[in-house]
Subunit: 328 residues, 2 copies
């Protein structure tokens, strides 16, 4: 008893001094309303006999990926992958690309020209670089890129540009009986090769956009081939549908950062009982990037407007996070 | 040591007498080659340092539902649900159904007339009875039916017509670090309301056929509505695709009973390392049903032909199972 009181006192003193509590599962989060809201929610749903208790199987938490778990600037990392891949493919078969303006722009690293080619051009780039191979071949290609390519500004591998406070949050939720899922507009097969190692989220808990596939017998064995056609877009209103199709339960907590997450937040937090909706607001141009309503990537406008009335926590990256990336 | 030897001797004597070993996790399976192949496989993949060891996250086992985990005669239970539902709907709005021959046949319990209306007629029946409501409303309807309707021959609730030996197998695999999934041609939302309680398989581990959905704001809240259009058919070549999209790993064990499971078995067992493919062969007209190559439901023809060359275990229901349904 005395010992516990002493520890408590010690903890309080430490926290009063701005020091770090090594026992704090959210050590990279500054003390403040955002952290408090998250911790209060987790306590409420895990308190047995409490009015907001939720049994473990129903403790489903969904996380957007781009801009929520890892950085999404200067462009979605998957687009940077597609550009690198177009360059590699062009090396082998230059004649194939000469006439396509979007592929040409990609090969020349001309992001502006690529943007000018519009949604159609981007789609073409993704199809050309992501289809026409088996799912195993694509998984190897994606895994290899993520382990070798470097971010232009931070000069780190892309999987090192995940947010340390969010990694802690994933661990903290799982330690409290939550099952954590990714629900991303990004390609499901672009994420799955590395999410288990980086986020502790296994492939079967990754929901994302998909291209069509076909099952084929080839050279005496069986393969699943990737086709150049969209199957499902897991963005905006697609997110609650993707959640429903993959998970089959309404989550009790959702984490996003842009208007692409609006419907996922609406669906999650309008359910009965205790609910948590969180938006990561990019406010830190120095350590990461600062953008919201005018973002060409990860635009946050409507969801920011709805946040107060719906009771969503808006995390201020600059104020709420002690560090942004691991090892800082 | 002496105690263990005595127990072992006692166990051996019991098993020699054909008595039941209360410690046997597969107590409803008769001793024989089918049971031995299953147990040997599980030992091989769980033996640390062994040549066939598989780390737990990769221990994915997939199960067909109709005819593999529960009975599928005299017709798929979901079709019987659709018929009951058509009757209920007709009671409220008889004028809506008078002109549709497939719905008319369903209402009159005329399975033959329904069969004559072909795939189009069946599809119409499913759409009319399964769409036009929210996913929550449908889940309640399905759960209510499964808890109240009775099988015409066995006079039991449908969720009591699950196979006891397969329930033991699910538990046995999970006790050995496997993650168990359903991969069924049946409707994903028809299964999810009850699979967790009956099979121990949570909604997020159920893969099935789907109709389209839309996310809507209605009366100030948010709903997911079911539309009268097919989204995905999780049968035949659709099964490996469904597995890939939902799970994202190739299973190491697959259990089926019909040609609808052929591609799932091919995909699973053609992977590298130890693999297990199992077919439940319905050979027991007395305790359940006997059918294979000429079945109008659950036809088993090509998969039965391929079983020997691909090394799939063919379970003989009559010989291999001590009991079929729980509590017998």
């Amino acid at each position: 008893m005395r010992c516990a009181s002493l520890l408590l006192l010690f903890g309080l003193v430490l926290s009063g001094c701005g020091g770090e509590d090594p026992e704090d599962p959210l050590a990279s989060w500054n003390t403040g309303p955002s952290k408090k809201r998250i911790v209060d929610f987790v306590r409420a749903v895990t308190t047995r006999g409490g009015p907001d208790h939720v049994p473990p199987p129903e403790r489903i938490a969904v996380f957007d990926n781009d801009g929520t778990l890892w950085c999404e600037r200067p462009a979605y990392f998957q687009l940077l992958f597609a550009i690198d891949r177009a360059k590699t493919l062009a090396r082998d078969k230059p004649e194939l690309w000469k006439l396509d303006p979007s592929i040409q722009a990609a090969i020349e690293g001309d992001l502006e020209g690529l943007a000018k080619s519009g949604e159609k051009g981007l789609m073409e780039l993704v199809m050309v670089t992501h289809a026409g191979m088996t799912v195993d071949e694509f998984a190897k290609t994606a895994a290899n890129w993520i382990e070798t390519a470097r971010h232009p500004r931070f000069k780190r591998r892309y999987n090192q540009l995940v947010y340390q406070p969010m990694l802690e949050l994933l661990d903290y939720l799982r330690a409290n009986g939550f099952k954590t899922f990714i629900v991303s507009g990004g390609g499901i097969e672009f994420m799955r090769p590395w999410t288990e190692r980086v986020y502790g989220i296994p492939p079967e808990q990754v929901v994302g956009s998909r291209i069509k596939k076909s099952f084929l017998e080839r050279d005496g064995t069986f393969v699943i081939a990737r086709e150049a056609a969209i199957d499902f877009v897991d963005d905006k209103a697609g997110k609650p549908i993707g959640i429903h199709n993959h998970i089959g339960r309404r989550p009790i907590a959702a984490f996003g950062n842009s208007d692409g997450d609006l419907q996922m937040l609406q669906w999650t937090t309008s359910g009965e009982g205790a609910r948590l909706g969180v938006i990561v607001h990019h406010t830190d141009a120095e350590r990461e990037y600062a953008y919201d309503r005018k973002g060409h990537v990860g635009r946050l406008d409507k969801a920011l407007d709805e946040a107060p009335e719906r009771g969503w926590v808006v995390v201020d990256m600059k104020k709420d996070w002690k560090v942004v990336f691991p090892g800082e």
